[in-house]
Amino acid sequence: MTAMQTALKAPAAPAFDVERIRADFPILKLEIGGKPLVYLDNAASSQMPQPVIDRLVRYQTTQHANVNRGVHYLSETATSAYEEARGKVQRFMNAREDREVIFTSGTTDAINLVMHGYGRKFIGPGDEIILTTLEHHSNIVPWQMLAEEKGAKIRVVPINDAGELLVDEYEKLFNRHTKFVGMMHVSNALGTINPVKRMIGLAHTHGVPVLVDGAQAVPHMKVDVQDLDCDFYAFSGHKLCGPTGIGVLYGKAALLERMQPFKGGGDMILSVTFEKTTYNTIPHKFEAGTPPIAAAIGLGAAVDYLSAIGMDAIGAYEFDLLEYATEQMNRLRGVRIIGTAAKKAAVLSFAIDGVHPHDVGTLLNQEGIAVRTGHHCAQPVMQRFRVPATSRASFAFYNSMAEVEALIAGIRTVQKVFA
């Protein structure tokens, strides 16, 4: 074990009571075809604890109205709860100011906001955008659309056989045409934790802003946007024990102020005449129309729930789960782990010799085990490893060591069926 991993492990050891935590998640009591649910698809979406469900119910039963509109009691209550959620997110990711936190519908929406708001204004013909091989389609396709529209070019950071970015190659991609960098913090397909702080520093020496896709990082580790010094950071609520339909774009205030709006409509304006519209200040400039108020408040509650447990404790416990699962899986003959980076979040992509991932997924489902099978919206990663698809077990802090064992037993069952 490396020193870094030991350091990660140290704080959690004594008091992580997974059984007590599991009791907070009603869905974990489900049985699937008579077998207890073993939910290992957390990288796709996580489950919601009772305090977050309760908060949504309280909002809908006693606090709901539209925000930033009425002077009546409910509108003021909803507005203050919505803005309170923004403050919770700001503290959670250590943004300087709450106006640097923009509520979006998710990570994809947040990235598209940056593409339209920043990219379409500041990126032109012949300019270059650096992305990485690991990117999710959501951090590839918007930039391809922009490149096509503007005549800009996309450069791609390669990876090694372990699934780690080649930072030396990344450095070589910079030139005077480089105008933007997009990179994911943690790979959804492989689990690789990228050295984003160092890579952001390198981009800044060239005066290039960086967007970090943090959808898979925020649920697993303490993220401090000031420490990273990223220019933009995007993530989704539903991977963080919150509701679907809510996400966050963090952006440095100075950049957000220079950007053009993404969507036009109500709330994002100060004044409108048919001759001229004056846009609202940030963050409202980027929140056109009625926002997902309930979902934002739910996300605030999720952030409170996770903070009470502690992101460091969560990261350390998940590291134990990953280490145990990796060790157990490595003992299975005919099973190959895809993605063996030195620093990983709790994601295990694997291939079973002679068995297509879809068959793995269906047979594991018969054991009550939920894994993701497919290309994980990361086809360039699949192409790099020359596989059409993988099976992926992705863990959360409410998964138990017994569930790791259930997965291993499930894989043995699959192997028996196909023997």
Binding site: H356, P357, H358, D359, T362, L363, Q366, G374, P388
Partner: protein
Amino acid sequence: MADPRALYQEVILDHNRKPRNYGALEHASHHAEGHNPLCGDHISVSLDFDGERIGGIAFQGESCAICKASASMMTVNVKGKTRADAETLIQEFRDMATGKLDLNGHHHIGRLVVFAGVRDLPTRVKCAILPWHTLHAALNSVASISTEAEDDPMHASIGDA
């Protein structure tokens, strides 16, 4: 719900291990490629006619066990059939996979009944149907189909699966 475990029964596993009519057919008069971009499955079907009837048929590709076994059993079942009989079987297979075929009624499904279980696994219906759609495309001289493309001649019906 039928026990979905029944899907992975010996006959399907056997056709997956030892697919029949696997490979390319030389001098095929009809050929089509089928893709399922959602899972990366890819299959090609080629055939020729001996008079009115399908004389030779072969398939190859990369796919899951359900898709490969379905393709293998399909080739065995349609060889020697007229175009009209093959089209009837395609329709019946598709109806069975989507739960619309009355298995107690009149049909020509025979041993293909082992695939009936996919109707309870909506995400796997396309795996079982892909070879049949590709056969349909080959019979109708459509060079390539995709389970996600709008021009898939049978897309509408996979859609309700």
